[in-house]
């Protein structure tokens, strides 16, 4: 065994292992990546029902309904980014930090009659909004972090310049339809 043949063996082993790792990753990237979607993206084009996605937004105030099917507890709530709302159905215990009017990420699949979550995540820290949700809110123009905390989620589906001045009723049924062009709180 000379140095050269040893080096050859080493290189072969490295190439084999790293090649296998790369192949596994590429395969997993094509099937196991979970995309983040906002309710308005879902409204525009729903992801296929076999694709797991993370749906992020704020829980619409007053939208949480709990029911029982046999002994199984089921929670339904609307998640909004201010442009659209999606009804989420979740079997199980909502996390301790789950609150109406606060940010949430639901992991699951989109079906015809709504989003079925397998997991609902609320962050450890109450004041902390998931980065992805904050980004989505900023993009939709509903919130500019420079001007204080996010407005109550209840107001978003109807928040226009005129509406913002009125006393806002909680958002109605999740229509999923985009509302009037959003205005940032700054211009009010």
């Amino acid at each position: 065994m000379t140095r050269k043949t040893r080096r050859l063996w080493l290189v072969l082993a490295c190439v084999a292992c790293l090649g296998a790792a790369a192949a596994l990753m590429l395969k997993a990237f094509s099937s196991d990546i979970v995309f983040f979607v906002t309710p308005s993206q879902v409204a525009a084009s729903a992801p296929p029902p076999d694709r797991t996605v993370r749906l992020g937004g704020m829980v619409v105030a007053g939208s949480v309904k709990r029911e029982k099917q046999g002994e199984t507890p089921i929670a339904r709530f609307d998640v909004t980014d201010g442009q659209a709302a999606v009804t989420v159905r979740y079997e199980g215990i909502l996390p301790d930090l789950f609150r109406e009017g606060q940010s949430v990420v639901a992991v699951g699949t989109m079906h015809k009659d709504g989003f079925v979550a397998s997991e609902v995540l609320a962050k450890h820290d109450e004041t902390y909004m998931p980065k992805e949700v904050a980004e989505a809110l900023k993009k939709s123009g509903k919130w500019d972090p420079r001007f204080g905390p996010p407005p109550s989620a209840a107001s978003w589906n109807s928040m226009t310049v005129q509406d913002a001045k009125k006393d806002l009723a909680p958002a109605g049924a999740p229509s999923g339809a985009p509302t009037a062009p959003p205005t940032s709180p700054a211009s009010n």
Partner: protein, 661 residues
Amino acid sequence: MLSPELGHYALALACILAAAQGILPLIGAQRRDRRVMMLAPGLAVGQLLALLASFLCLVNAAVTDDFSVQNIAANSAVSKPLLYKITGVWGNHEGSILLWALILGICGAAVAAFGRNLPSALRARVIAVLGAVAAGFELFCLTTSDPFARVWPAPMDGQGMNPLLQDPGLAFHPPILYTGYVGFAVPFAFAIAALMEGRVDAAWGRWVRPWAVAAWCFLTCGIALGSWWSYYVLGWGGYWFWDPVENASLIPWLTGTALIHSAIVVEKRESLKIWTVLLAIATFSFSLSGTFLVRSGILNSVHAFANDPARGIFILGLLAVVIGGSLALFAYRAPTLTAGGLFAPVSREGALVLNNILLCSLCAVVVTGTMYPPFMSLLFDRTISVGKPFFDATTIPLAIPLFIFMGFGPMLPWKRAQLWPVLQRLWIAALLAGVAFAVFTFGMSGIPPILCSALAVWVICSSVLDIADRVRLFRMPLSGSLQRARMLPRSIFGTAIAHAGVGITILGLAAMSQAQHKIVEVPVGTTEHLAGYDWTLTDVKQEPGPNYTALVATLEVRHNGKIVTIMHPSKRSFNSQNQTTTEVSIHTNLLADLYGVLGDKHGTDAAPTYVLRLHYNPLAPWMWLGALIMAIGGALSLSDRRMRVGAPRRAKSSSDTVTTA
């Protein structure tokens, strides 16, 4: 007396001492001036004392509820129990950086104390590198995250600590994990010192390995403790979430595991030297970037502390200097390190090389999975996440060959070996693994768990057989075997125990994939059936706690009519922060965990119903038990006298350095 200002001053003093520690011994080593080199141990101990004083001041401020200190006001409260006032010191960004620096100081002083048999130039350089790193982080602490900053006017009461963190498991998880992270600074410093000297030899391997093994033991325990905490506190029945912070601890663990194996080859055969130096640099670099990238909020994670751009830039700069500098030195000096002994592909060295390649491939996969989402969002503005499906699909196929080779690797002779005789000695292990495979095929579902548990049996059995073979068990009288066992170096036992620990952890992980659970909403008095157990909710009542009120359920679990346990899962509402936490109740018999969670109360007050989540988690304790056994194996090989009193003499070399006095 122990005022925050004194703490601040002590921290600044530590920073200056660390800077001196980072510069003077290097000059001394370069000029071969023994008097200057001898400053290193004193400076290291001085820096540690200053850091200790600083840390005590912060603890004192926390214990005495000094809310004029901003850090205390933001994270503590009068009503918080004393234990959490103390442990809360490191439960936030500023305090955790100070703890980090303190542990680094302890490492430096430990090298000063235990490194007496090192050549004085090497010791001076190692201590200097540790000092330079410490100076950087103490400067970071002083300039961007001062734990002693005062706030005016001082509030009457603090804002309190996140109740989730008020838990003994989490209280001690950070110090242990940090000791693991920071401990790898010592092998790193050895690697840098070796590059400066331009020589790596068997003696270097022998010096560096105990430090790496010690850090690895702490890191293993720290990861296991964190995982255990999330299992019993978060109440989701999960133990590992592939969260960026968890991955940040797993990545250095993988390279660190590779390091403690490749250092053996350096020590025994003077081979793989360049690779080992690179691994030492990589492990500490991953520890650093793991802790700080995550803590600075660059990676989106539940563990991230408050975000501050100034911190981010300072940290990025520091990381660039430490990692970039060491890699540049490596690139400049590595070619001067001569290649060592030759070996055949089938040999102990070959098996250890394979171990390294597979561990590094695993590491590459975890790094990619962790870093891909932030890069995608930064470069292409697409928000994605990778989770368990991704990591399962990529890590399991790479881990399987690792487990196979783990079985017979330790039995291969050095230099060149024949595979067949070794496999012949392991036929019992192979047979048992085959039987286990057949049994698991009926008892479990899913190919990866079945395969992994069969391989776990293989790993455990071959570790046991290795020892049995070495002591010639049943091939000579028992007293002779015992005599041989006594003569066997402890590191051999350490290896076998650590490998068996890996097997036990894998069995736990594989069995956990077969866990069953059930979520129900029931009134008091209902009985549920899960996994052969009858779970009856007999009572739910309100109970007051020190700083919370709790809703406590009583859950009677019966098996075949006999009562197994009475569990009390509860839900706590904390007054100070308007938060609730879920207190899981776990009953374990070491073969399975019964895990009960109390959810919300629904229905009217007259006829309330409660949401319950019941889990049956087979072999769950084995996951952490295995990790503990791994750490025990590591500790046992640390106690090997060859590691302690070896006091290896360095072979004379042409470019001689200053030798020991």
